[in-house]
């Protein structure tokens, strides 16, 4: 049952091995720290171990991709790191905030202050214009936008002339750009992106990935992206591979071919086609 690759990674990642998660800058601080995360759905024979004792550090101002086949636990890991879901055991810290045991109110504040999201389905509010969608997180938190930063963000995503349009009047790529801007505008500690190119064609997808890359490089934004596409993962600074609820491998300065090779080796152990 144990994967050959997993043999080298049976010991889960820890801050003692910083080179595994912080690809280009070993001294970078961690934006998100997780220790000993375990989560099980169901019980008895039907139990599904979504996370088995996962520990991970997400480096600040870096672009981290999380990969793995369907059911590997990559989505669950992201949900837990983002405070959307809770682990059965283990601890998560986002910036200065310790998520474990947080009540709904505190989690809401966490989302307002420290976390941004980019979804596969874009998830813009259809009745609001691009500008209103962009400002929504700030309005929900009862804050005013910093006009200078707002302009910088709008400029970065290249949507200045589209701000008064509604989502239905925008292409998929444009909608996802609005979503990126929406995540950026409140300057979160970390942005979680869930298959951000999953609903886009490859060219538009590449543009969005370039935009995310630029956010990291130009603004020092921390981004965690869940994906099953090796091409997407190649835009990241580092990749974490999950399988069967465990981190089985990591890769710094990934290339599409390198990522594909790792994914294949994981898949063969399950006898499943890659990326299923």
């Amino acid at each position: 049952m144990n994967a050959p690759l997993a043999a080298s990674g049976t010991t889960t990642l820890s801050s003692a091995e910083p080179d595994l998660t912080t690809a280009s800058a070993p001294a970078a601080r961690a934006a998100v720290v997780a220790r000993g995360l375990t989560k099980t759905y169901g019980s008895g024979d039907a139990a599904v171990h979504a996370l088995r004792d996962v520990s991970v550090d997400i480096a600040e101002a870096r672009f981290t991709a999380v990969m793995g086949p369907s059911g590997s636990g990559k989505s669950t890991l992201m949900h837990v790191l983002a405070g959307l879901d809770t682990a059965d055991s283990g601890e998560v810290t986002v910036g200065p905030a310790r998520l474990t045991g947080m009540k709904d109110k505190e989690l809401t504040r966490l989302r307002r202050d420290y976390v941004g999201f980019i979804f596969q389905q874009f998830n813009l509010v259809p009745t609001l214009t691009a500008r209103e969608n962009l400002l929504l997180p700030l309005q929900l938190a009862g804050r005013k936008a910093d006009p200078a930063w707002f302009d910088v963000v709008v400029d970065a995503v290249g949507l200045g002339h589209r701000l008064s349009h509604r989502p239905s009047e925008l292409s998929g790529g444009q909608q996802q750009r609005v979503a990126v801007a929406r995540a950026l505008v409140s300057r979160p500690q970390v942005i979680f992106a869930d298959e951000p190119t999953g609903n886009l064609d490859s060219r538009t997808g590449a543009e969005v990935l370039g935009l995310l890359r630029a956010c990291v490089d130009d603004f020092g934004q921390t981004i965690v992206m869940v994906t099953h596409d090796p091409m997407s993962a190649a835009h990241a600074d580092s990749v974490i591979f999950l399988d069967d609820g465990q981190i089985v491998s990591t890769m710094a300065r990934p290339t599409a071919d390198g990522v594909l090779a790792v994914m294949r080796s994981i898949s063969t152990t399950h006898d499943l086609p890659a990326g299923a």
């Binding site: 809401t108 307002r112 979804f119 509010v125 997180p137 929900l140």
Partner: protein
């Protein structure tokens, strides 16, 4: 957050409109009820005040509202004219009268009509002559312009004057108005008025005007002092009826303002009863509307659960989501209430105009919209809406932010909690109802009824699935495959289906309960009347109006009549032993005739035990040998001993005394019906025909009926009430059906993609339509059947209490109940028309790609 809410609502105008319709209907009903009542009483108030303008004091035999008449003598009028400070005095008599339509020869349909003896003094006379001359001869009358028009009468025309006395020919000599006009009223010659209403040459009231500069109170005091100094001034008029002469009446003095106020109060009490009655139904409609709102908002938020989850992920708190949903509801409530307010005022205006056109004597057609009405409407609508939205708002806010990234979440069901609550409510309902029926306790039966309805609502989501599976069976043959899909659609959202049906359950339960109660009451009327009266013909006035004593003698003199027994019923305060007096209906009859003609089910004693100084009482009201004190205003108490107990019957009041005893305290107490037996050789039908032929002219207000006809007439009163209540409840049914349309419409929108898929794999438009229709039929059948069953039980328990221990099988109007269920189902199919068409017209490609 508010921006998101408002923009979202604007984008879904149709849904907003649908959810607002139920609020509109409820609020319109409330507004119309208030506004109609206010308009009627407001209009009359002014005219009463005008009619009494310039009158400083009024002497009356009884209460200021004229409810207890008694004769005031001409000598008293003379004495008052001598009082210092009094400038004018006039005695007059008021009573019931109508003019017959000269064209058709028919009496007006309603048994109402007021008339007053003419007063020569312009100020004291409430009537103002506007055209022609005053009625100064026995055969002359003046009439108000509106009545003249509706009856087609002009000055100089002849017709017949109908009172409780024999009809007489009269000529219209002038047009007169009360106050500013508009109230239908007759003026007849002064002396004739006294005769017609049994006051002889006496009066029912004396109107007094004082000198310039004196206050009303000063004039009234002077009159009162004069009355006290002149004893024996009442009831001694020459030629007054025996009864009137026997009256020991103490006259009372009121100021003009007091009389106006008392009249206004009496009127407001009447319109108040109507308003309250209407408001009860308006409340039921709003209650049903509440279900609809709850359901609509639940569906709207369920459809938006991903959007709500995204908002949560973007940092919205639970409170913000709740406030958003509630704000949406409040907007629906405010918009719906505003429209409802306008619609209700419109309906009231229409009704007032209609009433005026029907000649029901509404003085003016402007509708009064009081601040109170506006406030109630604008508060009630939004409050009901907001309360109904709290549950869906709480549920919606429980959405997990993570659902923004997952497929639709599975709703959490707590079947066990629901089943427990439902079971407890059912047990409560059964216990309270059984105890309530056994103990004849209204509060217990009421509590039972309320918990029964609640239990049905709580059971709903658990019951709707199994019920639908059974109900769907007959349709499988009819509509084939689409039925299976429809069945699945109803079952997969049990909460929604149940909430949609709940509105129907409540509506159908109420109309069914009304039908059961009505049928039981009319069944009771039949068996009780037939069982307790032993006569061939009953003579009474339509609508049960009392009538004068001379009719009894006149009927007795007709061919084929063996005996005539007059039954009087009067309202009196009755005290048993030392207990506090209660207002009861006291009936009276000649004891010998009572023994012959009344077949009471005696619990103790017999009808032969009725004699002067004795009383028969309904079982449970008093015990054998108890002393009973009967009091009417203005008379000394009548002390009686209970000599028998009988089971209650609608034919008689709570107590039965001798005619002589009642006449002793209430000489004016009129006959309510006459019982006549036929001589040997004459059948009941023959006698009825003879009497009817005589009465039509001699006593035009009276009718002779065979026992069967009398029972039928009593039943028709009940039936009319049932029909009216059912019509009012119909509005809540209408709201419930709107709910069916609304739910289907929303679920079609929700299932756009699925319908597109079904169409793409070969489902025809026709099949899509029948699928949606069958869904409507399944929900409606479930709701109507459950409602009908609930109504049956409710009707039985309530009937049991209403019949107050009268042991009678409750009758079930099976035909009527089946009709209600049928109508509900057919109406549901109609309600499903639009959603079905919408679903069938969906473009396959668009639908499949819809998100």
């Amino acid at each position: 957050m508010l921006t998101v809410t408002l923009k979202g609502m604007l984008a879904r105008k149709l849904r907003l409109l649908l959810s607002a319709v139920s609020v509109v209907l409820g609020v319109a009903f409330v507004t119309a009820s208030f506004s109609l009542g206010d308009s009627i009483s407001g209009a009359f108030d002014d005219h009463i005040a005008n009619a009494n303008a310039g009158v400083d004091a009024v002497v009356m035999a009884g209460a200021a509202d004229g409810s207890s008449p008694g004769a005031l003598t001409p000598s008293l009028v003379g004495a008052l004219a001598e009082v210092d400070g009094v400038t004018a005095v006039a005695g007059t008599t008021t009573g019931f009268a109508q003019l017959r339509d000269p064209g058709t020869g028919a009496s007006p349909a309603d048994a109402s009509g007021a008339a007053i003896g003419w007063i020569e003094d312009d100020v004291l006379n409430p009537l103002t002559l506007v055209e022609g001359s005053a009625p100064l001869h026995r055969d002359e009358v003046v009439i108000d312009r509106a009545s003249a028009e509706s009856l087609g009468l002009q000055i100089g025309d002849s017709t017949r004057l109908i009172t409780h006395a024999p009809a007489r020919d009269v000529t219209v000599v002038g047009l007169a108005e009360l106050g500013d006009g508009g109230i239908s009223v007759l003026g007849i010659e002064a002396a004739t008025a006294g005769e017609v209403w049994g006051y002889g040459d006496g009066f029912s009231e004396i109107r007094v005007r004082g000198e310039e500069g004196l206050t009303e109170a000063q004039v009234a005091d002077a009159v009162e002092a004069a009355l006290a100094a002149a004893p024996g001034t009442t009831g001694a008029g020459d030629g007054a009826t025996d009864a009137a002469a026997a009256a020991a009446v103490t006259p009372s003095v009121y100021t003009g303002t007091e009389v106006t106020e008392a009249n206004v109060a009496a009127l407001e009490e009447q319109t108040g009863v109507i308003t309250t009655f209407l408001l009860v139904f308006a409340g039921i409609t709003l209650f049903v509307a509440g279900f609809l709102i709850l359901n609509t908002i639940s569906m709207l938020t369920a459809q938006r659960s991903r959007e709500l989850a995204v908002l949560r992920a973007l940092g919205a708190s639970r409170g913000q989501l709740v406030r958003g949903v509630v704000a949406e509801a409040a907007t629906i409530g405010v918009v719906g209430s505003l429209v409802g307010l306008a619609a209700g005022t419109g309906v009231a205006t229409g009704l007032v105009a209609l009433l005026s056109r029907l000649g029901l004597g509404l003085p003016e057609t402007t509708v009064s919209l009081e601040l109170r009405t506006v406030l109630v409407a604008l508060v009630l609508g939004p409050v009901v809406t907001v309360i109904a939205s709290l549950l869906p708002a709480r549920r919606a806010s429980a959405v997990q932010p993570v659902q923004a990234m997952r497929e639709a979440a599975v709703p959490r069901t707590r079947r066990r909690v629901r089943a427990t609550v439902a079971t407890v409510l059912t047990l409560l309902a059964v216990t309270a109802s059984v105890l309530g029926v056994r103990e004849v306790s209204t509060p217990l039966v009421g509590a039972g009824a309320v918990s029964m309805v609640l239990a049905a609502v709580v059971w709903g989501p658990l019951l709707v699935g199994p019920a639908t599976r059974v109900l769907a069976r007959p349709f499988v043959r009819l509509a084939g495959r689409p039925t299976r899909l429809a069945e699945g659609n109803v079952i997969r959202t049990p909460h929604r289906s149940a909430a949609t049906s709940a509105a129907l359950v409540v509506g159908v339960a109420l109309v069914s309960a009304t039908a059961v109660i009505g049928s039981s009451m009319s069944g009771m009327a039949e068996s009780e009347i037939k069982g307790s009266l032993d006569a061939d013909v009953v003579v009474w006035s339509m609508g049960g109006m009392p009538f004068g004593g001379e009719a009894a003698g006149a009927v007795a003199g007709q061919d084929g009549v063996e005996e005539v027994g007059a039954v009087k019923i009067a309202e009196a305060d009755v005290a048993v032993g030392a207990s506090a007096p209660a207002t009861e209906m006291v009936s009276a009859m000649d004891p010998a005739l009572a023994h012959d003609m009344l077949h009471l089910r005696m619990v103790e004693g017999s009808t032969a035990d009725l004699a002067d100084g004795r009383v028969l009482a309904v079982e449970g009201e008093a015990g054998l040998g108890d002393s009973v004190s009967v009091t009417v205003p203005g008379a000394a108490p009548l002390e009686l001993t209970v000599s028998g107990l009988y089971e209650g019957t609608p034919a008689l009041g709570t107590y039965l005394v001798t005619a002589a005893d009642l006449a002793g305290i209430a000489p004016q107490a009129a006959d309510v019906y006459l019982l006549a037996t036929a001589e040997e050789g004459t059948t009941g039908e023959e006698l009825q025909a003879t009497l009817d032929a005589y009465l039509v002219d001699a006593f035009p207000l009276l009718q002779a009926m065979t026992m069967d006809g009398f029972v039928e007439a009593n039943r028709s009163v009940v039936d009319q009430a049932v029909t009216m209540i059912s019509a009012l409840l119909g509005l809540s049914l209408l709201v419930a059906l709107l709910g069916v349309a609304n739910t289907l419409g929303l679920s079609v929108i929700e299932r756009t993609r699925e319908i597109g898929m079904l169409r793409s794999i070969g489902m025809s438009r026709r099949q899509v339509r029948s699928m949606v229709r069958v869904e409507a039929v399944l929900m409606a059948t479930y709701g109507a059947l459950l409602g009908g069953a609930l109504g049956l039980v409710l009707g039985r328990t309530v009937s049991a209490v209403l019949m107050d221990g009268i042991d009678l099988p409750v009758s079930v109007p099976a035909g009527r109940l089946a009709l209600y269920v049928g109508v509900a189902v057919v109406a549901a199919v109609v309600a499903a028309t639009l959603p079905a068409r919408r679903a069938a017209r969906l473009d396959v490609l668009d639908a499949v790609s819809a998100t």
